[in-house]
């Protein structure tokens, strides 16, 4: 049965789009049929992170308004056969995204894919609530930083009240994805620790993605980080998170590619 997953956070710039692309690609590599859907109308970016910006013809709003068929708007990934993108509109009015229209499109996607991953816009307004509306699972992307944690708490409140599942009195699965984590700074008590964030938000942990330069490199290339540098720390962390989403139990660890000072010096000399 298809699962609808929303990647959400409240705060902007914490890594939702990066995570949508990376988790989508990782699940697709595990032979799942995946579609990533950009709900960030007006500020679409998922196409760029996925490297499909020049292939966008129709978008989510065209489909909602009946201007295009779903099949015409879906963009098949060039690297992974079973990964598709439904882009957002850059120019159209956000209000064109109606609740009924979204329900219909998500319903159709459920029939064609195993995973429907919705990349939420920032904020707690209509765009964000529409993105989470039909979700079975929510991945709450949080940085170890006060404003991000506070906004995540607000979003958890919305997930428990504004989603279809919540309204039916059912439970929406919520999972924390802690991103841009720097274990060294956390060890020096300069940054909130994983346990701190878990204790405050009290939802289960899906994974910890370390702060890494590989993320910027992947976005420069227009390739999800799980494909751009599969051996890098963030890629491995995302791959493990994807396995957990698939129901596997994977021991939690903080994957880091920070070399020791000696290691770094040594590898530079060796290069």
């Amino acid at each position: 049965m298809a699962k609808v997953l929303v990647v959400t956070s409240g705060k902007g710039g914490v890594g939702k789009t990066t995570s949508t692309a990376a988790l989508g690609a990782a699940l697709a590599q595990r032979k799942q049929k995946v579609v990533v859907v950009d709900f960030d109308v007006g500020l679409r970016n998922l196409d760029l992170i996925m490297g499909a910006e020049r292939r966008v013809v129709y978008d989510l709003i065209d489909v909602v308004q009946g201007e295009a068929k779903l099949a015409q708007a879906l963009i098949r990934d060039k690297r992974l056969d079973n990964l598709s993108l439904l882009p957002a509109s850059q120019t159209k009015d956000k209000d064109a995204l109606t609740a009924d229209g979204v329900a219909k499109v998500v319903g159709e996607l459920r029939e064609q894919f195993d995973w429907v991953i919705c990349d939420s816009p920032a904020g707690i307004e209509r765009g964000a609530t529409l993105a989470m509306r039909h979700a079975d699972v929510a991945v709450i992307v949080t940085n170890p930083e006060v404003s991000s944690v506070r906004d995540s708490d607000r979003i958890i409140g919305l997930l428990d009240s504004k989603t279809e599942k919540a309204e039916k009195g059912e439970r929406i699965e919520k999972k924390l994805l802690l991103t841009r984590y720097d274990p060294a700074r956390a060890a020096r008590a300069e940054m909130l620790k994983i346990e701190d964030v878990l204790e405050i938000l009290s939802i289960p942990l899906l994974g910890v993605i370390p702060e890494s330069q590989e993320v910027l490199r992947a976005s420069n290339l227009g390739t999800p980080v799980t494909l751009a540098s599969p051996q890098s720390a963030p890629a491995r962390a995302y791959a493990e998170a994807a396995r957990r989403l698939g129901g596997e139990t994977v021991t939690m660890s903080v994957i880091s590619d920070k070399k020791s000072l000696f290691g770094r010096f040594f590898s530079r000399r060796a290069a």
Partner: protein
């Protein structure tokens, strides 16, 4: 920088944690986020499971917030074949006891009410 500052400079993360804990405890009471509903659902499920086999998604708990009172709507679907068993009365009694929260509780058991 003077010497005192140099020695006093500790990590700021514990301050962040404490501030967040205080702030969010306050914000949750005003915006209504609490895990009460989640906790109730889990505990209710446990009680029911002691007596009848029930699917976890067949227990629905909903909180309707009103100005003066809120209502708690509990809806449990139980296979008809066993809903006549006396054990169910015990389960219902335990439930009623559990539901004694400040909110007005209303437990509905569709199947047994119909029977």
């Amino acid at each position: 920088m003077n010497l005192i500052n140099l020695f006093r400079k500790k990590g700021s993360a514990p301050v962040a944690r404490d501030r967040l804990q205080i702030l969010l405890a306050h914000e949750r009471t005003s915006t209504g986020r609490s895990d009460l509903v989640d906790r109730l659902r889990e505990e209710i499920l446990e009680v029911i499971k002691k007596h009848v086999a029930v699917d976890s998604d067949k227990v629905r708990v909903k909180m309707e917030r009103g100005e003066a009172v809120s209502t708690l709507d509990i809806d449990i679907e139980i296979p008809t074949a066993i809903s006549g068993k006396p054990d169910l009365a015990t389960a219902a009694a335990k439930l009623a006891e559990m539901a004694r929260t400040p909110e007005k509780a209303k437990a509905t058991d569709k199947k047994s009410a119909a029977a």
